[in-house]
Symmetry: C2
Subunit: 326 residues, 2 copies
């Protein structure tokens, strides 16, 4: 049998309450000598606290539950990394639930599982979420944050996300300032993320009095493959610059362009943007991407625990200069 505080109490000739105090380092409540003696005995007996019992009695669980809804791109690892680091710093444990890949029913089930653990808060890393899933979360009165999701149709959701409108605008403005007029937007999808980047793109173009040809917007899924494939469609359009929906799309575009014999840096400017759905680390030069996700992770924990308002993470541009090094 594993030793319990009861065993230790008997061995030390004190009550369980005293043992509990000693092991919790409540030194102002008991004589240092007693405390030290008890801890020594506990150590000798190979005692380990039973967290379940402790949690049940105290109603405090210093743990954060993280739900991962897998996506094609593996950006979640960087976020989890950030969460782990900060959680530890704050003295919290992290319990991770995997919700499979884009499986609503399973995500719902996973949300329930997370709730059963009475965590101090829940972080849901996902690309999508359904209303009923959020409803379960908010009904349970457990603080939660949707990491990397922002749905403008549901301003009441608690979220942490990249500011995708700003990202799109920033990238486009960057190219406009370089003197470009015919700028494409390649590789975004129809999710909020993509639509907001599109919005930012449109905003920048309009602000500069440039006309937008709807054909310049090419849909994909933020992947390297998307970039490679979409280059064919871009090729005939006499664009001089492209805002790539993600850093991976940018790399895909450039590789395809190189294979087609186009000298990218001279004939076509490509700016890749990172954000919620980009994240494969492609080369040592692109590690900035990693840092942004890391920051998203740490920000999430802070925001969750302090119950602040919704947060947008500013996100960096991945400049053509870097990408072209590949």
């Amino acid at each position: 049998m594993k030793p319990t505080i009861k065993n230790i109490a008997k061995a030390a000739g004190v009550s369980t309450a005293t043992v509990s105090r000693a092991l919790a380092n409540k030194d102002q409540l008991l004589r240092p000598a007693t405390s030290a003696r008890i801890r020594k005995i506990a150590h000798e007996m190979g005692y380990h606290k039973n967290v379940a019992a402790s949690q049940l009695a105290s109603k405090i669980t210093k743990t954060i539950a993280v739900i991962i809804n897998y996506t094609q791109t593996n950006f979640w690892k960087e976020i989890v990394d950030g969460i782990l680091q900060q959680a530890h710093q704050l003295g919290y444990q992290v319990i991770i639930f995997s919700a499979g890949e884009n499986d609503p029913a399973r995500l719902t089930q996973t949300v329930n599982e997370a709730l059963e653990h009475q965590a101090s808060g829940i972080l849901l890393i996902s690309g999508k979420i359904e209303a009923n899933q959020v409803a379960i979360l908010s009904r349970a009165h457990t603080p939660y944050r949707l990491v990397s999701i922002y749905d403008r149709h549901h301003p009441e959701y608690r979220f942490i996300s990249s500011d995708n409108i700003a990202i799109g605008e920033l990238a486009t403005t960057y190219l406009i300032k370089q003197g470009h007029h015919k700028i494409g937007l390649v590789g975004i999808d129809h999710s909020s993320t993509g639509q907001q980047r599109l919005l930012g793109y449109q905003k920048a173009m309009t602000a500069a009095d440039l006309t937008i040809n709807p054909d310049w917007v090419h849909y994909g899924n933020y992947s390297y493959q998307s970039g490679q494939q979409l280059y064919q469609q871009v090729q005939g359009q006499s664009l001089t610059a492209i805002v790539a929906g993600s850093d991976m799309v940018a790399v895909g575009l450039i590789k395809a362009a190189q294979q087609a014999g186009t000298q990218v840096p001279e004939q076509l400017s490509v700016v890749g943007i990172d954000g919620a759905l980009a994240g494969e680390i492609v080369s040592p030069e692109l590690t900035t991407v990693k840092q942004d996700f890391f920051r998203m992770g740490t920000t999430s924990v802070d925001n969750l625990l302090n119950d602040q308002a919704a947060t947008f993470i500013p996100t960096r541009l991945v400049k053509r200069a870097s990408v072209a090094k590949l």
Copy 2:
């Protein structure tokens, strides 16, 4: 107040025992009608089981604790990925503890924390471990596995690791068969991992009746940077081939060689090997590395839960052909 089985019992006009049974789906123990009615009420009341209470009462925790001892290279993410997937499949939860970077005191503390959670088993992902830490684990009678550690001085440790001797031998033999005689070994370190790869290298060279010049062995830390730096020392040695201590070292060597104007594929053959300390994903062509770690993750869970003997994961060579594409 969050609803408890007591509340549900009252609402349903039954005892808490019945509610417990209904919610645990022990349908052979009660009338389906009762069971369904109780579950409906529980759902309406927004009930979520309290895992702590459940664990305490049943003494069963379907969770696996994973301790991450950070290293420079981020291979642990792939392992954790594998663990998450298989754990979920087996109905286990995963709780993750971060033990900082190469901090023995903190690792010891983290091991104790993991033990407090009464997990079904503990997976320790680390490059190093100290005897007293293993002692704590084995004394606690909680099944554990040291993932990616193999220390031949401690055959009693429970571990899962790459077979580093085989890896070194495999890579070297591969080059010998290509007709090379002057083969270097670059970028390994002084840990067991490195020494075993060296052993494999020596084994292969000896078996082929080739002399080994001790100067041909260059120490580093498996990183891209190591490869870049060590190229200088390799340059003057008139080697025709190199076994790189990791895939990253191989890439570093090749990049340095290119910068120095050497045509690698023609003048110098480089074989990179992956394993416990390699793991940055460098390009889409190198994703095999990822799969190996993934496999290490899933194997760990299986091995832990079924308490099998120590396991070696066979590890693939990363061929020069792939690496040279970069």
